[in-house]
């Protein structure tokens, strides 16, 4: 459904997107994961015909993003990272306006947005500018869906949204998937990656890896331990000094420690006990996406 081949885009000295290629299949929920400044938004803008690539080519729904941009605009829904609707028009007016711009009506495609719109309905006469963050985001999603696009582009839809709304939002995406929509979503939150069918890890304008969430996790080949003690700060200092350590990062209340092969819980325990750490807790764990991503970033 989306076919990207060697796309590159630079702004002066900054190479925002470098030689990116990947494909997204029909009906897939594809996540583009990467930190701020990775080039996600630039890539999105190229795909939704807002920017011209410097080189490379891409097709979305079989339409070339440069040659057939006009036809393509009818077929994609785009929700930018920043709220971009008319704050002085009401919920209903915004939706109706975007429907008419696409030559359709709210009624015609109501089926697709119903689940989301019912939550907005009580506020339909409220001005969009006066909505809460979560509601704004739902309205923006409705506006991006109102013309029944084939492909939906969501640029960091959950940035700046509370945890409950984030969860709801991903549930909405899962149900949209059932309508056969192809969805490309970007996010800086790695914990959301598991919701996607496949993910691409992006950094500094380059794709580091493309796989299913499990596939990405399985790429992590080294031993990984979660370590905890009373003095976390001293613990991280000591572990980073340890001869067997490759990396050591804080992950919530635990430290994730990557070691060389052949290191066991006992080795670490001995090392730390020598350094007078109390209430030690050391357990081998399976790598998560974040661990994989950290690892990939190290080697990029």
């Amino acid at each position: 459904m989306i076919h990207i081949q060697n796309i590159a885009k630079a702004f002066g000295e900054i190479h925002a997107v470098q030689d990116v290629s990947f494909d997204v299949a029909r009906g897939e929920l594809f996540g583009l994961i990467g930190p701020d400044g990775a080039g996600k938004t630039t890539l999105f803008k190229i795909l939704v015909t807002l920017l011209l690539p410097d080189s490379g080519s891409a097709t979305v729904a079989g339409r070339d993003v440069v040659q057939d941009f006009r036809a393509l605009r009818q077929m994609v829904g785009y929700m930018p990272g920043r709220f971009s609707l008319y704050p002085d028009l009401s919920v209903e007016e915004n939706l109706a306006f975007f429907a008419t711009v696409f030559g359709t009506t709210i009624q015609e495609n109501y089926e697709l947005i119903r689940d989301i719109y019912v939550q907005l309905e009580p506020f339909k006469n409220r001005r969009a500018g006066a909505l809460s963050g979560g509601m704004k985001q739902k309205l923006a999603l409705c506006c991006a869906l109102i013309h029944k696009p084939d492909v939906l582009f969501l640029d960091e839809p959950t940035t700046g949204v509370d945890a409950v709304s984030r969860k709801e939002f991903w549930e909405m995406l899962q149900s949209l998937k059932k309508h056969g929509l192809t969805i490309l979503v970007s996010t800086p939150y790695m914990d959301e990656a598991g919701q996607c069918d496949r993910i691409a890890l992006m950094q500094n304008g380059q794709i580091l890896a493309i796989d299913t969430p499990t596939g990405v996790e399985n790429r992590f080949a080294k031993p990984l331990f979660a370590v905890r003690a009373t003095n976390i700060y001293r613990l991280i200092q000591d572990l980073r000094q340890a001869p067997f350590t490759i990396t050591c990062y804080a992950f919530g209340e635990f430290l994730h420690l990557t070691t060389q092969d052949g290191v066991s819980t006992g080795t670490i325990d001995t090392y730390l006990t020598e350094r007078h750490h109390k209430q030690l807790e050391i357990k081998p764990i399976r790598a998560g996406i974040e661990d994989s991503f950290m690892d990939l970033m190290q080697h990029a």
Binding site: T49, Q74, V76, R82, Y86, P87, D88, L89, F97, V101
Partner: protein, 376 residues
């Protein structure tokens, strides 16, 4: 085509919702017209005059008396010495000093001529010029009075006709009473269109850029020209409403004549509005924030208005200013406004202005569209 309609509908919805802007746009022409036309007035009143009378005769008193009973002058009294009068000029309490030298009456009767000295403070150039003209007129009239009185007694019996000399009488055409309002209103009318047309239009489009809706619309099938036409049409319509309001105020409050064809006037107003929104569009194309747009519009407006001939005649400006002025749309449209309203000029009389404005409009809109294409 339909999409343009929806754009316009949306635009009006937003405008009606912006109560402050909406009220301002309708009240502005009426208020500004009334305020500016009354305030921007070259009639000089309350010229403070002090007199230094060194003659102390009847004639000297009569001359002073002439100044005392004229509205424009405010007689502040006699001063015993010129030095004291100078101090008042310095302090700003006097604008004009009239010095009547000794032997004024004697010279006038025996030699048939006498000099008076008039000192005018020229801090405010316009006021000084006008004050000086007023004072000279009064002295001339005093002169004429004295002459007619003494004619009967001229010893050598010169014929009265020869003494009276040639009298030049001025007649002002198209504005017989030299009403400044009649002169100002047509100018202000178009100046307001420029303000609304370019400023509001530019800010409105830049706002869509700022809040990101322009980008959102760029992903829809809406075409660039549809967006532009949809954005600008409401402002042309509002401009025409404002023009009508202004014209009504001009006609019924200021009683300015409408000699020429109304259709021609509206035709020009429409053309000028296209030019204004074209300017607004170009400015919006080069600005990314409303602040930038505001500054650029303000810069252009002040330049256009000051050079337009609204306040001072363009013919009196230095050569270089006149050259710059050939690019000033406001200059042309004010000429049109004054000529059509006051003189009843026809399109044939105004064809230079028409073609110049037309060329400017096409250039501006063309440039703005090209610039939008390039960026978008």
């Amino acid at each position: 085509m339909n999409r343009i309609g929806f754009m316009i509908e949306k635009e009006f919805k937003q405008l009606f919702r912006n109560k402050v802007l909406w009220r301002m746009m309708l009240a502005a022409p009426v208020l500004q017209l009334i305020l500016l036309a009354n305030a921007a007035n070259f009639e000089v009143k309350n010229i403070n005059i002090v007199v230094v009378d060194q003659d102390h005769t009847t004639y000297a008193q009569r001359l002073t008396g002439k100044f005392r009973y004229i509205d424009n002058f405010n007689f502040r009294g006699y001063r015993p010495a010129t030095k004291l009068a100078y101090q008042e000029l310095l302090a700003g309490t006097a604008d004009v000093i009239l010095v009547i030298p000794p032997h004024f009456e004697r010279n006038l009767t025996t030699e048939n001529r006498a000099d008076v000295q008039l000192l005018v403070s020229a801090i405010d150039g316009t006021k000084a010029g006008i004050a000086s003209v007023y004072a000279q007129t009064i002295i001339r009239s005093f002169n004429a009075d004295i002459r007619t009185e003494t004619i009967g007694t001229t010893p050598d019996g010169v014929a009265p006709e020869r003494m009276a000399g040639l009298d030049v009488e001025n007649q002002y055409w198209y504005n017989p009473r030299l009403e400044y309002k009649t002169f100002m209103v047509p100018g202000i009318l178009f100046e307001l269109l420029l303000l609304i047309g370019s400023m509001i239009a530019a800010l409105n489009i830049v706002r869509e850029k700022e809040i990101g809706t322009q980008e959102q619309l760029n992903v829809t099938p809406i075409r660039k020209h549809e967006f532009i036409i949809g954005k600008l049409t409401p402002f042309v319509l509002i401009g025409l409403i404002q023009f009508t309001l202004g014209l009504l105020v001009g006609r019924f409050v200021f009683r300015i004549p409408i000699e020429g064809s109304l259709l021609l006037l509206y035709g020009f107003a429409f053309l000028f509005l296209l030019l204004c929104v074209g300017l607004g569009l170009l400015i919006s194309a080069v600005s990314n924030t409303q602040q930038q747009a505001m500054f650029v519009v303000f810069f252009c407006l002040v330049l256009f208005i000051l050079l337009s001939g609204l306040f001072s005649s363009t013919d009196d400006m230095p050569q270089w200013a006149q050259i710059i002025n050939t690019l000033n749309p406001l200059k042309y449209i004010i000429e049109v406004g004054r000529n059509v309203l006051l003189k009843g000029s026809t399109l044939r009389d105004m064809q230079t202005q028409f073609f110049t404005l037309l060329a400017m409009t096409i250039t501006l809109i063309g440039l703005a569209s090209w610039r939008y294409k390039k960026v978008g």
